[in-house]
């Protein structure tokens, strides 16, 4: 009956790019061959048609259909039956153009499934989509003067956090509903957004963001810091808005902003409906498909999955919840089938009671929390996730503590990691040690995420409401055998002991892309692959930083060497004492701004004779610079050159110091001092190439030689080189300090560990050998 009832009907759908929406489109195309679809999608950059093609029809949900029809048949069928319309439920009039409005007006059924399902979305965003979205749909229909059957997808959790029965009745019919005016809530959410935006711009907060950006990037130059600061501000506003959402929702007895806004949405849409007949479908927690389009089919990384994966990674040692409690899970295909049945049945008459169908399992076929946890643990014991060393991770046993205790455990772990991370940030470590710091940061982020899960999903795990299914089961009984075979949604048939381990978990780990087997040996490792890309002949320009990238030395060491070369005895001692006394000032200046530091430091070359310095620099090159060079780094420069790449050294060091490197590079960009009467005047003739100026030097060089930065490589060691590293297609972090190590790790950059030749002695302050040049 369902296919017949839908045949010749035109069905408009919002939210078709989502998990539920995609499954719905697939099912209608496959099982209701007589219907036509109008898909209202946000057009994005590519336009609605392309979006439908890329983001819906290419999904593996359509594999069966595509195989059945063949590629051409599939294309023909979809182009015949689908009309893609650009629209957006957050705009008034749904943002539809005349054509779009006409398509909507000609529809017999409208299924509204667009929603912000993420539980930590900012309050105002949830309000705009979940509350106002359906209101805008009916308002548009009313203004078009049409009355198609509107099926809105809501959630069981509109019943709020409560114990006991939650029947299929209107939200405001419940005795537990706290009556609030939805328009007032809309205004409040928008106001909170404005207030928060304002608050984020107070000088104190802006200063905070800036110092946080500085902490993360170091002396990366003003433009990079500015971009980072703004990014942090936006993130801060979003976090505040999410917190405001949770706060407002819990204050009214809802687990989160999602359930809260959905609940008000149901009320609002009923108020605005006019003559438009409305059916509400309320699913519980939607999870992977039971059998359609294929067992385990899932789209996106959803509700319970992050929790399950965190557990399997050994990250989440505990999760709140009562073992006897019910986790109300429903496979996506059941929800889709129920929606189809409701749409085919048509709206209920005014005397037929509330037109609300809940799609859940808890009241008729409960999945107990304890049972679920046992199955998850058993499954991951048999199919462990592997850590980066290739060892299987052992999953912990849960003791079902309260939410408070879990949160405390996580907070303790977070604090410990915070402290360790702080220590690492100030330690002058590089290379391998710095990567430990980067890993700490990663752990800290994972813990942070786990904290979030506990806060958000804990409410659900602790929810003990039981959702009534009278309407659903009544609908089920009204179907004929053919419909029951094609559109199954009877939750009583689910065998949890089979569904969880055989269907759901394999699909969760697949969607989560977690390593389920130890890394294959012998194959090309990630860094080998990256290195191959970096050393591919088609690369064009290769930029190198000098200090700590090619040599373990710095401008202070150079100065100490050059300055002490002609000093003896007491003068020499005084020179050393002076430099050592200044070290703290110099270090802090260098941390703040590299070019200020260089400007300040290079003053001391004032009066140095040019000829003498040139001669001494050549000696210094052998005794200090080459002696502290990284042979693998130098070899890398030569490799690039041999491959025909253009190599350029970009350094804040002085020209005479790096002059002996000339034959190694095609070009050298360095700092230069002015000369007066054959002696240096201690002032730089131009802005030294550090931070964004280094990026600029690279960009200028690329432009001058007509080279493409996206096909170029940059080697550097510090977060202050970020502008340069970010500008090229193939950045390489060499012996990175902690900050850069963590950035490189996150972004998947090649990290090289170039070292000094073993056996060379290290000295804190390199001085020229006493007297060799002054005898």
């Amino acid at each position: 009956m369902i296919p017949e009832n839908l045949a010749g009907r035109r069905i408009a759908i919002t939210g078709s790019t989502g998990f539920l929406g995609t499954a719905l489109v697939e099912r209608l195309l496959r099982s209701a061959p007589g219907c036509e679809l109008v898909l209202i999608v946000r057009p994005g950059r590519r336009g609605a048609d392309r979006r439908v093609e890329r983001d819906i029809l290419r999904n593996d949900a359509f594999n069966n259909l595509r195989t059945q029809l063949g590629a051409d048949g599939f294309a023909e069928m979809t182009s015949r039956r689908i009309t893609a319309v650009a629209g957006d439920v957050t705009s008034d009039g749904l943002g539809l153009d005349a054509e779009g409005l006409a398509a909507l007006a000609s529809s017999d059924i409208v299924i509204h499934s667009a929603a912000v399902v993420s539980f930590d979305s900012p309050l105002d965003q949830a309000v705009e989509v979940n509350l106002l979205g359906p209101v805008r749909v009916v308002e548009t229909l009313v203004s078009l003067g049409v009355t198609p059957h509107l099926v809105t997808v809501s959630t069981c959790y509109v019943a709020g956090s409560r114990r006991g029965r939650a029947p299929e009745e209107p939200v405001d019919a419940s005795a537990f509903f706290v009556d609030v005016d939805w328009r007032g809530e809309v205004d409040a959410a928008r106001r909170i957004r404005l207030d928060t935006e304002t608050e984020s711009r107070t000088p104190g907060n802006l200063k905070g963001f800036r110092s946080e950006a500085h902490g993360e990037l170091g002396a990366a130059g003003i433009p990079s810091l500015a971009a980072k600061t703004e990014q942090l501000r936006c993130r801060w506003v979003d976090e505040k808005m999410a917190a405001a959402g949770v706060a407002r929702a819990t204050s009214l007895g809802f687990p989160d902003a999602y359930a809260f806004t959905k609940a008000l949405g149901e009320i609002a849409v009923a108020e605005s409906a006019g003559d438009v007949p409305i059916s509400v479908v309320r699913p519980a927690i939607i999870e992977s498909a039971h059998s359609e389009p294929s067992p385990g089919w899932i789209r996106g990384f959803r509700m319970a999955e992050p929790v399950i994966i965190s557990y399997a990674r050994g990250l989440l040692k505990e999760f709140p919840g009562v073992p006897e409690g019910t986790v109300d899970v429903i496979p996506v295909d059941f929800v889709v089938a129920a929606i189809c049945a409701v749409a085919a049945r048509g709206p209920l008459g005014p005397d037929e009671g509330a037109d609300i169908v809940q799609v859940a399992s808890g009241s008729v076929n409960p999945l107990q929390y304890g049972h679920l946890v046992d199955m998850v643990r058993e499954w991951f014991t048999e199919h462990p996730i592997y850590d980066e060393m290739g060892q299987p991770i052992t999953v912990p046993q849960w003791s079902f503590p309260g939410r408070g205790r879990v949160r405390k455990q996580l907070q303790r772990a977070a604090r410990t990691l915070d402290r360790a991370q702080k220590v690492f940030e100030v330690l002058p470590v590089r290379g391998r040690q710095a990567e430990v710091g980067a890993r700490l940061e990663e752990q800290r982020e994972l813990i942070g995420r786990a904290e979030g899960y506990v806060d958000l999903y804990g409410a659900y795990a602790e929810c003990e409401a039981v959702y009534g299914l009278e309407h659903l089961l009544g609908l089920w009984d009204s179907l004929d055998d053919a419909d029951q075979a094609t559109f199954g949604f009877d939750p009583r048939v689910i065998d949890w002991s089979r569904y969880v381990p055989d269907v759901h978990l394999p699909s969760v780990v697949k969607a989560g892309r977690v390593p389920m087997r130890p890394p294959a040996r012998g194959g090309e490792s990630r860094s080998e692959r990256l290195r191959r890309q970096v050393l591919a002949p088609e690369r064009q320009l290769v930029a190198f930083d000098l200090e700590n990238t090619l040599i373990a030395s710095n401008v202070v060491a150079s100065y100490a060497w050059l300055g002490s070369r002609h000093l003896r005895g007491r003068d020499r001692a005084r020179f050393v004492a002076h430099l050592v006394a200044e070290a703290p000032t110099l270090l802090s200046l260098d941390k703040k701004d590299r070019s200020d530091f260089l400007r300040h430091f290079y003053r001391r070359y004032e009066g140095a004779p040019v000829d003498q310095i040139a001669e001494d620099s050549m000696e210094q090159f052998s005794e200090l610079i080459l002696a502290k060079s990284f042979p693998a780094g130098i070899r890398r420069v030569r490799q690039h050159k041999a491959l025909g790449h253009r190599t350029v050294l970009i350094t804040g060091a002085l020209d005479f110091v790096v002059e002996p490197f000339r034959p190694l590079f095609d070009d050298i960009v360095s700092a230069e001092l002015g000369v007066v009467d054959g002696a240096y005047d201690g002032r730089m003739t131009a802005v030294p190439p550090t931070g964004e100026a280094r990026y600029q030097a690279l960009a200028d060089h690329a432009e001058l030689h007509g080279l493409d930065l996206r096909e170029s490589v940059a080697y550097a060691d510090s977060a202050s080189d970020l502008p340069m590293l970010e500008a090229v297609g193939f950045p390489v972090a060499v012996n990175p300090e902690t900050r850069l190590a963590s950035i490189a790790r996150k972004r998947g950059w090649l990290v090289e560990d170039f070292r000094q030749s073993p056996g060379m002695r290290r000295s804190v302050l390199p001085l020229a050998p006493a007297g060799s040049a002054s005898r």
């Binding site: 052998s622 080459l626 002696a627 042979p631 056996g759 002695r761 060799s772």
Partner: protein, 538 residues
């Protein structure tokens, strides 16, 4: 002391190891190993004790300059005021270890300069004849020629290092009948007289090689520093059987025919490498003659060295300067001079040995010609063992064909980034591909030799030429062809394997491994060197 100055020095000696023989001291880089050799089938070759030095070295030098050998006038007769005089001298690779001041070169050069001053010669240049070795530092030059000479000539650029890559400073003087280009220092070629000041530490040194190699460059060197020559020099320490020697002699003739006049001054030193007194004196004594005090001292030294970090050990060892004494000095025409010189080298170093052995063992010391004030990297370990020490024979190799060579050296994967940049790349790139000298020569030599960066570092920094690590590897060609297996005891396993050798953690393990190749109960010969000995194998 059993071998005090008043006693006549004893010649070299071959000990047959029996049950009562004490453990033998093996050199092992900047350290030592005490090894017990299997009795009944092992023998140890000891070098001769140091010959007496000349009582009046300066007098002997003056006498040699006034009484030249061969077809040559006395030096003073060759000097005149309006001439161009070039004094070339051996570089940092000689002698080993560096000798105490005054260096012989200083004595000889001062004597030559005295005569030049008497004759009123103004145009004098002094050149460190280092071919493609690294440049000598100021300190090293001062040590070799003395402060007086350095201060008089260096500041205005009349004392300097040879630069084989200076396009204006080098000239090709002709070709030998074998088609070998003879490239030479332009200054030396254009001088009225070249005086060469040599220290003839081993039999390969000196003669025409001093100038034909020392003052030339890659254009010439490639004709004799190659796999073919090395394979046909058996050994390169034995002039009569050395293709290397023959090529240098042919080139010497071309130089002579081109009108280059050379007055050759050659010197030999005794075997007093570690001194008769002091911390290293033990290394010159035969183990069964050690006193209780010697034993205690050795154990204390070994314990101390084991505790020291590598850098400190390296520094301690490289500060050692040998109290070498001059045993002969002769001057005049190159070939006549060199014959006498070679006889004097043999007088000190030759030890008669009867018959070959299945397994040859050697303890390699901390120094070789190319790591003075530097790091003995794995390639230099190979060169010292399979090049220098293996070839220190006359007649036939100490070890039979197909036999096993066991070296003892820590062989760390360490390189001096200033002195040996091309070695690092040779080790990382070339040896990772192949260890076969002929293939290496064919595939990689030209590329390294002509590399702009290596040339830059050779000319302006203190780097061995880009081609130098190849020569080090070629030096071992004859040994590689001759031997069935090479095992390094106590070496860094990765570095040892990279070179195609086998690592062993103890001599016992190494002997076990060797018996796979040479069969059970093999004969073993240990070459106790340095002080330097040359085996005269019959």
């Amino acid at each position: 002391m059993s071998n005090g100055r008043h006693l006549a020095p004893r010649p070299g000696f071959v000990l047959d190891v029996d049950r009562n023989s004490p453990p033998i001291v093996f050199h092992h880089g900047e350290g030592f190993r005490l090894e017990k050799l299997p009795p009944g089938r092992s023998r140890v070759i000891y070098p001769a004790e140091p010959l007496e030095g000349l009582a009046d070295p300066d007098g002997a030098i003056r006498h040699a300059l006034d009484n030249p050998l061969g077809d040559s006038e006395p030096l003073r007769a060759l000097l005149h005021s309006d001439m161009k005089l070039t004094i070339a001298f051996d570089d940092i690779s000689l002698p080993l270890p560096p000798m105490r001041r005054p260096d012989i070169r200083q004595r000889v050069i001062e004597a030559v300069l005295d005569l030049a001053a008497e004759a009123g010669v103004d145009d004098v240049h002094l050149i460190a004849a280092l071919a493609v070795h690294r440049r000598m530092t100021e300190d090293e030059l001062r040590h070799a020629v003395g402060d007086r000479v350095y201060d008089a000539f260096a500041p205005d650029g009349r004392l300097y290092n040879h630069d084989a890559e200076d396009p204006d400073g080098m000239v090709v003087l002709g070709e030998t009948p074998h088609g070998e280009d003879v490239q030479f220092s332009r200054r030396a070629a254009e001088s009225d007289l070249v005086v060469y000041v040599n220290i003839n530490l081993v039999a390969m040194d000196g003669g025409h090689k001093s100038t034909a190699t020392g003052l030339s460059g890659y254009t010439s060197l490639r004709h004799h520093h190659n796999v073919h020559t090395m394979s046909n020099s058996r050994s390169f320490m034995d002039q009569k059987n050395s293709a290397l020697h023959a090529s240098n002699w042919r080139m010497g003739k071309v130089l002579k025919d081109a009108g280059v006049k050379i007055f050759q001054i050659e010197t030999t030193v005794n075997n007093d490498t570690f001194g008769r007194q002091g911390p290293m004196a033990l290394l010159q004594k035969r183990e069964w003659e050690w006193s209780t005090r010697d034993r205690m001292q050795f154990l204390a030294m070994k314990a101390g060295l084991d505790l020291m970090p590598t850098g400190a050990k390296r520094k301690a060892f490289s500060s050692w300067q040998a109290p070498y004494a001059l045993t002969s000095v002769q001057a005049g025409e190159i070939e006549a001079v060199h014959e006498v010189t070679t006889a004097n080298v043999y007088r000190q170093q030759l030890v008669a040995v009867e018959g070959q052995t299945d397994i040859l063992t050697m303890g390699l010391p901390y120094i070789c010609p190319y790591n003075v004030n530097s790091i003995m990297n794995p390639i230099l370990v190979m060169c010292l063992g399979l090049g220098y020490f293996f070839n220190l024979y006359r007649g036939r190799p100490l070890v039979r064909e197909g036999g096993v060579l066991i070296l003892s050296h820590p062989t760390p994967w360490e390189f001096h980034p200033v002195h040996h940049p091309s070695y690092i790349d040779f080790f990382e790139q070339v040896l990772a591909d192949t260890t076969d000298p002929a293939e290496i020569e064919r595939k990689y030599e030209k590329q390294f030799a002509e590399d702009e960066w290596y040339i830059h570092l050779y000319r302006n920094s203190y780097a061995y030429h880009g081609v130098h690590p190849f020569y080090m590897w070629y030096w071992g060609t004859h040994a590689l062809e001759h031997l069935g297996r090479v095992i390094i005891v106590g070496g860094d396993p990765a570095a040892v394997r990279r070179m195609g050798f086998q690592p062993a953690s103890s001599l016992q393990d190494a002997l076990e491994m060797a018996s796979d190749v040479v069969g059970p109960q093999p004969t073993i010969t240990h070459m106790k060197n340095p002080p330097i000995l040359m085996a005269d194998v019959t």
